[in-house]
C-alpha cells in the first residue's frame, strides 16, 4: 500500500496540441479508494496511464511514498491495472492469465499455485480456472482481470472504467463486489469512471475533472452537496443540479430573481449584495417539492412534460422568468423530482418550494461557487492542499 502524491502534473502529446491534462496536484492516501470522475476526454484516463507508467508526464512529479517514479518503467512501479475491455490474454486459461505476472517475475511454481488459488477463492472463480476468456461470462472476465491485477499484491491498484462493458444488473453486483474486495485488501486504488453512481457509491474521495483540469476533490457528500462550480453541479447528480442565470432585485416579499420566477428569503441579501446583479442559482431536483405551506424558497414554472419513474416522478418545466405567464424555448429549464403519487398536466402553472439550505449560488462569470458568507469557494477551502 502506497501513498501517492502528484505535483503539478501535465501531459501534452504534441508540441502544438492542447494539453490533455494540466496542473494536476493530488494526494491519494494509503489504502484510499479515489475515483476520477469526468466526461469523455477530460484527462482522467491519461492521468491513470501516467500513474501506471504507460505514459510519461510532460511536467510535474509523481511520488509513490518517498520514491519519485517519473522515470520508473511500469514493471518497477508495483501497479496492478484493470482495463476497460479487461485485456485478458485470449490464448491463456484463467489460471495462466492470473499467473502470468508472477511467472514473468520468476516466482517459484508452488508459490504461484498457492497465490493464484487464494485469489481464485477470493473472487469466486473456482471451477473455471482452466477455461479460456472466451468461455467466460462478462462478470467472470471482469473478476479474472481483477484477480490478475491483484495477485501480485500491488502497491497501487488502477481501474479504467472496469464496469462499463457490463449490463446494468451485473454492474451493480460488481460494484458491491469491488467495494467488498477493497474493504478486504485495502489496496490504494484509483478508479476512473464517467458514471457518477459508481463514483458516489465506491469512492472515499472523488476527483471531478473537466478539460484536463481538476475541478473539485472531496468526499461524495461534499461533491454532491457543495459543488465547487457549475460544471460539477451539473455533472454530478442524475439529473444534474438545476442552474439558472437570473438577475436579482429586492422586493417587499423578499428577493426576487428572474422577475419573480424565483423568490428567496431576505437572509440571502448579505451574500447577494457582494455579487453583481446577475447570479447563477442552483437547486437539486430532489429539493424541489409541491407544497402549499409557508416556505423559504418559491419557484414558479410551467409544466412541459411529466415522467413516472415508479419510485418517483419527474417534472420537466420552464421557469416563468419574464413576469409574464408563458414560457418559451429560451426560458431556463427546470427538473424536479417529486413523489410517486404526484401528477401535473402539461401546460399547468406550478409553484414549487424548497428549503433555503438547498440554494447554491455561483458567480455568473466564473461559475465558481459562492459560499453563503460571500467568499469564493476557492478562497476559503484548503482541502486540496498536499497533506
Amino acid at each position: 500500500m502506497a501513498k501517492i502524491v502528484l505535483k503539478n502534473v501535465k501531459k501534452q502529446y504534441g508540441k502544438k496540441d492542447a494539453a490533455a491534462m494540466e496542473d494536476v496536484s493530488l494526494v491519494v492516501g494509503e489504502g484510499e479508494f479515489l475515483v476520477l470522475l469526468g466526461p469523455s476526454g477530460c484527462g482522467k484516463t491519461t492521468l491513470l496511464r501516467i500513474l501506471a507508467g504507460l505514459e510519461d508526464p510532460t511536467a510535474g512529479e509523481i511520488w509513490f511514498d518517498d520514491r519519485l517514479v517519473n522515470e520508473e518503467p511500469p514493471d518497477l512501479r508495483s501497479v496492478g491495472m484493470v482495463f476497460q475491455n479487461y485485456a485478458l490474454y485470449p490464448h491463456m486459461t484463467v489460471f495462466e492469465n492470473m499467473a502470468f505476472g508472477l511467472r514473468a517475475r520468476g516466482v517459484p511454481k508452488q508459490v504461484i499455485k498457492q497465490t493464484v488459488h487464494d485469489m481464485v477463492a477470493l473472487l469466486g472463480l473456482e471451477g473455471v480456472t482452466d477455461h479460456r476468456p472466451k468461455q467466460l461470462s462478462g462478470g467472470q472476465r471482469q473478476r479474472v482481470a481483477l484477480g490478475r491485477a491483484l495477485v501480485r499484491d500491488p502497491e497501487l491498484f488502477l481501474m479504467d472504467e472496469p464496469l462499463s462493458n457490463l449490463d446494468a444488473n451485473l454492474r451493480e453486483q460488481m460494484r458491491m463486489e469491488l467495494a467488498r474486495i477493497h474493504g478486504q485488501l485495502k489496496v490504494t486504488t484509483v478508479y476512473v469512471t464517467h458514471d457518477q453512481s459508481e463514483a458516489l457509491t465506491l469512492a472515499d474521495r472523488i476527483v471531478v475533472m473537466n478539460g484536463g483540469h481538476v475541478k473539485q476533490v472531496g468526499t461524495p457528500g461534499e461533491i454532491y452537496t457543495s459543488p465547487a462550480d457549475t460544471f460539477v453541479a451539473g455533472f454530478v447528480g442524475s439529473p444534474g443540479m438545476n442552474l439558472w442565470k437570473l438577475e436579482w432585485e429586492e422586493t417587499e416579499d423578499g428577493i426576487s430573481l428572474g422577475d419573480g420566477a424565483l423568490l428567496l428569503p431576505r437572509s440571502f441579501l448579505p451574500v447577494l449584495a457582494t455579487l453583481p446583479r446577475t447570479v447563477i442559482v442552483g437547486i437539486r431536483p430532489e429539493h424541489l417539492e409541491l407544497s402549499f405551506g409557508k416556505t423559504d424558497v418559491k419557484v414558479v414554472c410551467r409544466a412541459e412534460f411529466f415522467e413516472n419513474l415508479g419510485s418517483h416522478t419527474q417534472l420537466h418545466a420552464g421557469l416563468v422568468t419574464s413576469g409574464a405567464d408563458y414560457v418559451n424555448t429560451d426560458s431556463p429549464r427546470l427538473v424536479a423530482r417529486l413523489d410517486s403519487d404526484a401528477f401535473i398536466d402539461a401546460g399547468e402553472r406550478v409553484t414549487l418550494t424548497a428549503p433555503a439550505s438547498a440554494i447554491n449560488l455561483f458567480d455568473a462569470e466564473t461559475g465558481i461557487r459562492v459560499q453563503t458568507d460571500g467568499a469564493s469557494y476557492f478562497d476559503q477551502t484548503d482541502r486540496w492542499a498536499l497533506t
Binding site: 518503467p73 475491455n85 485485456a87 490464448h91
Partner: protein, 340 residues
C-alpha cells in the same frame, strides 16, 4: 395508405409500409416485391451472384483447372506438341521418373531450398516486421520509408533483381566477394560453385520475397491488441518474454499463413534460378545441376527436351508433394495455431 416523408416531393418515396409500420425502405421497392413471387427473387439474386463471379471464375477455370486437368490426363500418355494424346502408356511416365536420378536429385535440391527458405523467411521477415512495428509505434521518423524500402524489391520484376544479384555474386568483381575479402574471409565461387550456387539463389529469393512476408507479418502484429502488451509490461514481462508468451501465440495464424505461402513458393521456385544460372553460366540449373529444382526440371523436360508427358508426370508428383505438405501443415496448425 402510404405516408410520404415530410419534405420529400418524390412520388412514392416513403419510409412506411401500407400498415403504417416503419421499414426504412422505399415503398416503390416494397410494392414491386409484393407483386412478384418470392421464388423469382431468389432465382434473380442467385443469377446476379453467379454473374458477378463468372469473370473471375472463368479465368481461373481456363488458366488453372483446365490445364491442371489436362496435365493429369497427358501424364498417362505419350504426348508431343504436334501429336494428339492417343498413345496411352499408363503409369510408364511415373516409372521412368523413379528411375531418373536427375529427378530425385531435383527433388532433394527443392527440399534443401525449401528447408532453408522457410525458417529464413519466417525469422527475417518477422524480425524486420517487429523492428518496423516498433518504429511505427514510437512514431520514429522514416518508418514509412523503411516499410516502403523493404517492400520495394518484391514489386520489382524477379528477372531484374536476379540480374543485379548475378553482378553482386560475380566471383571476380562482385560486391559479395568484395565484402567477404574485406572482412578477411575467403572469396567464394558463388554461382560458379557447386556448393555456393544454391545459397546464392536462396539469398536472391529471400531478398526478393521478404517484402511481401514483412507486410503480412506487420498486418498480423497490428492485430495484437495494445492493451495486452501494456498489461504484460505492467505484469513485469520483459520484451522477449512478452514476445514468446503473448505476441508469438497471437500471431500464430499469420506465421502459419506465411509458412504455407513460403513452402508453396519454394517448391515452385523457377524464375530466379532460371535468370541467375542461365546465360553466360551455362544452361540454367547449373553448375552440375546444383540449382536444378523440380520446377526448373519440369520446364527443361517440357520445353528444352520436349518430353511433355514426362514433364506432366513430374508436375503431378510435384502437385502431390505440395498438397501433402500443405495437409501436414494444416494438421499441425489445427493443433498449435491459436485462432481468436
Amino acid at each position: 395508405m402510404t405516408i410520404t416523408t415530410a419534405g420529400t416531393s418524390h412520388e412514392g418515396r416513403t419510409v412506411y409500409t401500407a400498415s403504417g409500420e416503419y421499414t426504412g425502405k422505399t415503398s416503390v421497392k416494397s410494392r414491386r416485391r409484393s407483386i412478384l413471387p418470392v421464388r423469382f427473387h431468389r432465382l434473380r439474386d442467385r443469377l446476379i451472384a453467379y454473374g458477378l463471379m463468372l469473370p473471375a471464375t472463368s479465368v481461373f477455370v481456363m488458366f488453372f483447372y483446365v490445364p491442371a486437368a489436362y496435365m493429369l490426363y497427358i501424364s498417362f500418355f505419350h504426348w508431343g506438341v504436334l501429336s494428339s494424346a492417343t498413345n496411352f502408356v499408363g503409369l510408364a511416365n511415373f516409372r521412368t521418373l523413379l528411375n531418373q536420378p536427375l529427378f530425385l536429385h531435383s527433388l532433394l535440391t527443392s527440399l534443401y531450398y525449401t528447408l532453408v527458405m522457410i525458417p529464413a523467411t519466417v525469422l527475417l521477415s518477422l524480425g524486420i516486421a517487429l523492428l518496423l512495428k516498433e518504429a511505427i509505434t514510437r512514431r520514429k521518423r522514416g518508418a514509412g520509408i523503411w516499410r516502403g524500402a523493404v517492400f520495394l524489391p518484391h514489386v520489382t520484376p524477379v528477372l531484374a533483381t536476379s540480374i543485379i544479384w548475378v553482378w553482386i555474386f560475380n566471383p571476380q568483381f562482385g560486391l559479395a566477394n568484395f565484402v567477404l575479402t574485406h572482412l578477411g574471409l575467403p572469396a567464394l565461387g558463388w554461382l560458379e560453385s557447386v556448393h555456393w550456387a544454391l545459397p546464392a539463389v536462396i539469398i536472391d529469393s529471400l531478398w526478393h520475397s521478404l517484402g511481401l512476408y514483412v507486410i503480412i507479418f506487420l498486418a498480423g502484429l497490428s492485430t495484437v491488441p495494445r492493451d495486452l502488451l501494456e498489461v504484460a509490461r505492467l505484469d513485469g514481462a520483459k520484451k522477449y518474454y512478452t514476445f514468446r508468451r503473448i505476441i508469438w501465440p497471437l500471431i500464430s495464424p499469420t506465421t502459419f499463413f506465411v509458412t504455407l505461402l513460403a513452402t508453396i513458393n519454394s517448391w515452385q521456385a523457377f524464375s530466379q534460378i532460371y535468370a541467375m544460372t542461365g546465360g553466360p553460366h551455362g544452361g540454367a540449373g547449373g553448375p552440375a545441376y546444383a540449382t536444378t529444382t523440380d520446377a526448373l526440371l519440369v520446364y527443361q523436360t517440357a520445353f528444352v527436351y520436349e518430353h511433355f508427358s514426362l514433364a506432366a508426370a513430374m508436375s503431378v508428383v510435384l502437385f502431390g508433394i505440395i498438397m501433402t505438405l500443405t495437409l501436414i501443415q494444416k494438421w499441425i496448425s489445427d493443433r498449435i495455431v491459436f485462432y481468436r
